[in-house]
């Protein structure tokens, strides 16, 4: 019955539905899904962004425009000296590579999992601080043209970075992110591979340990030579 076995296959599929009722329900997205950005704030409401423009510098699509300014003394926007007073992302250019998230020294910019938003003109595609900064609850602001069903902004605060702050990929068992907003902190992920860590060194405790150590050695050597050079005539 080789000719007719196809009929059994097609009738066997009856009742098995794989399609998701998409706009009404969404399938869960992968944990590290890259969606639209948010600009995070500390628990006291201060913005994390310090206007350093590292994100703009690293952006391969050149879609981020940042201008930093000194914090007003009487009403500071961020805890540090400076803050980002202009922050714009052009979503017609953004490729969601997440390099801005990697570059950010203060975890100010992270990504939600939301990609379902659209525009009717080019100006609307440029998100400014008005849209990007999270609300008082630490959650992304929901714009009317975005399709939020929940779950897309659950893990924006405690962003798991692809590479460790130390520059080491092997980052098992160490929490390499902060969860100031009180939600979204996940267990450290296991199974990442990279060059072995130096024994007795915790890269999470000392993010720039290796670099500092390296420079230290150079300094020591220079000092030793210098001292040696000085010592020789003695």
């Amino acid at each position: 019955m080789g000719w007719f076995s196809g009929f059994r296959i097609s009738i066997g599929q009856v009742g098995k539905v794989l399609t998701t009722n998409y706009p009404e329900e969404k399938r869960p997205k992968p944990t590290r899904f890259h969606g639209r950005h948010v600009l995070n704030r500390y628990e006291d409401g201060m913005e994390k962004c310090i206007g350093c423009e590292l994100c703009a510098g690293v952006c391969p699509a050149r879609c981020i425009y940042v201008r930093g300014a000194d914090n007003p003394v009487d009403a500071p926007v961020s805890p540090g000296e400076r803050y980002g007073f202009v922050y714009e992302i052009n979503y017609l250019r953004c490729i969601h590579c997440d390099l801005c998230v990697e570059a950010c020294p203060t975890e100010a910019i992270t990504e939600t999992k939301l990609f379902e938003f659209s525009f009717t003109n080019r100006a609307d595609a440029i998100y400014t601080k008005a849209e990007l900064v999270v609300g008082d609850d630490g959650r992304a602001q929901r714009q009317p043209w975005e399709l939020w069903l929940g779950g897309e902004d659950d893990e924006t605060s405690a962003w798991m970075r692809a590479t460790a702050p130390s520059g080491q990929a092997a980052f098992e068992g160490r929490v390499g992110w902060s969860g100031e907003l009180g939600f979204g902190v996940r267990d450290p992920e296991a199974g990442q591979t990279g060059p072995p860590l130096q024994p007795g060194v915790n890269p999470a405790d000392h993010p720039h340990h290796q670099d500092l150590d390296h420079h230290h050695d150079d300094d020591h050597g220079a000092d030793a030579r210098g001292r040696g050079g000085e010592a020789a005539p003695h």
Partner: protein, 401 residues
Amino acid sequence: MIPTFAADPLFSDGIDTTVVLIVIVKTIVVFAILLVAVMFYVWFMRKVIADMQNRIGPQRAGPFGAFQTLADGIKLFFKEQSSPTSADPPVFRLAPYLAIIPAFLAFAIVPIGGLVTVAGHETYLQLADPGIGVLWLLMMSGIGLYGVMLAGWASGSKYPLLGSVRASAQLLSYEAALGLAIVGVLVHSGTLSTRAIVNQQAWNGAGSVFSEWYWIPAIGAFVIFLIAALAETNHPPFDLVEAEQELVGGFHTEYTGIRFAIFFLAEFMNLITMSAIAVTLFLGGPSGPGLGFLAADNWINVWIMPVFWFTLKVLVLLYATVWVRATLPRMRYDQLMSLGWKYLIELAFLWAMVSAVVVVGADQGWNRWITVPAAIIGAALVLSVLWACIPRRGESVEEIR
């Protein structure tokens, strides 16, 4: 002489205003039923085919997406109609109607229900019961071919022309098999009238499914009829006419808007008509059990139940067509011609011959244990001779000579 209206008692007392009104109402009802049936068949087909492909299918327009076809139709109705500069405008405009009018007319002979009494006149739930009966179906499907052929020709474009040439060849080839398959029933029924054929398959208890309905004595013809009917309606796997990979849209490539929709309306209408004719010829038409707890002359048993059984049988066949659509890929053109000419026509012809021997033998009181095997052996001999003459794959005609 064959009476024009063979069995319908509506005309037995002469024709007066009431009779004319009844006929007009019947015409309008059948017209509406067919349109609505096409609308829901397309929805049904899309739902079932989605079910077989792990999808959901239309679900937006109306409950369970049931008005999807209506929405499509309205959209097509309001779309711009364009025609190529090289087209032949009158024929180009005429062709869709040449396709759809025969599709409507072919359904007229289908017995939908039983004998009912309307305003003192007894009549069958059936638009017309001409003496030529099922030949009407073959006539109408033959005329419907003109719609496809002229559409392709009048488009003034090469792909529609190729598609329509294919359509003509395909429809002509399979009409032969279709007609011979119908003969397999006609030798048993002895009449062409569809009403007489369904009356012969009347319901006398559950056994009549096997003893009365013609699908058992004409099982070979039934199978051939179903295959040929699919080919005749350009249904997959025989939808060579619209082979997108080769012909863009086939004969309707240049058609837009409501004219395009009319071709599809006609195609699906033909499919429903073919299923209805298959039910009429082989599956007893409206015959089926009434509701036992009601009187036999209760209006439910008289009006509703025959229509219910007819609809149910047609739906089963239509589900099967969707099943075929979901399963089989399109045939190659040479496979199509090979199946039609080398196998279906011969088998249908021999089946009709064997059936004739069996029926005549039964009439003459011959010993059926001799006549039936003799007929089958004779048919097998003819078949082996015929198939020996057919070139096989990779064999040239010269080698056989």
